[in-house]
């Protein structure tokens, strides 16, 4: 995000195709770099459990107390039927990751995610 414009929120939408070839380490460093700059990422699909753990670990190493206080992650799941349609399994539809101090309030319900972003002194609402 442009550091001169503190009232703007940059949102990046990343398709699963774009991440298909990336290693876990590449994905995590891309996420952490962007979030540290104040960006909000909307990723198609989700991370694996071990990638999530790795992301938290990397975030903890990057927290500098003053400027970067960590991340918030939210996922929106969808039902996925098996081959014969006999059983349903939850899969992650989209993942939203952003700086913890920007993602002010998030309401999560089934099939619905609502977020209020806190932008400097102005505040903005995203639904």
């Amino acid at each position: 995000m442009d550091s001169t414009d503190t009232n703007a929120l940059k949102m990046d939408f990343i398709s699963s195709e774009a991440l298909k070839e990336s290693s876990s380490m590449e994905k995590i460093s891309m996420i952490v770099d962007k979030v540290k700059e104040g960006d909000l990422l909307v990723i198609e699909g989700g991370l694996t459990p071990s990638e999530e753990a790795e992301l938290i670990e990397t975030t903890m190493r990057e927290i500098d107390i003053e400027n970067f206080v960590g991340i918030d992650i939210y996922t929106l799941e969808k039902d996925k039927s098996s081959f014969f349609g006999l059983s349903k399994k939850k899969t992650i539809g989209i993942t939203i990751i952003g700086p913890a101090n920007v993602m002010k309030a998030v309401k999560k319900k089934q099939n619905f995610l609502s977020m209020i972003a806190n932008l400097g002194d102005s505040g903005a609402s995203l639904h």
Partner: protein
Amino acid sequence: MPKFFKRNFLRNFFNKLIGKDKKLKIGLYGHPNSGKTTLANTMTNDWLGKPIGLISEIPHETRRVYRQEHVKIEHDDVELDFDIVDTPGIATKIDYKNFLEFGLSEQEAKERAKEATKGIIEAIKWLDDVTGVLLVVDATQDPLTQANITIMGNLEARKIPFVIVANKIDLPEASADRITSVFPQHTVVPISALHGENTGDLYQAMVKKFN
């Protein structure tokens, strides 16, 4: 639980675990302030007669992994040896300003925040080393958080058995049902670690899951 029954119950519990070659290392995981150390203390008090760590209302009080090694229980000439690992609470963010509410100075709050980040890294590393987990969830809070989901996802992926402990059921706003309804596929045991309420059920669930 009356003492006599408690003794009998614990004997049954230990007997069920006897004869297993594997070394049990039970990790306590969950959010900051969900009651992990209180539960660890209740367990070690029940089994060893002494507490494991310090309890406080300030989040991230447990900033390092506390490990009570060789919890040795002798009963009727049989001996059981296992470890309890009390981990710092896992979170995705640490803001030192939250500690100011608890009367810490800015400097102390910043120090604590730095230590808390290291504690979380340590807790995640320990996931590679535990053989069973008690996921402690504060029953007064929304259980569907990213930290809980991440811990469970990792346990499932690593095939580590776990029991969800719905703690703080002594509080009027607690709802163990909410936890059961969002995690219907897992074992959820409602307890009050502080008052030792329902811990018998928890020990029973542990025998079932960790054996």
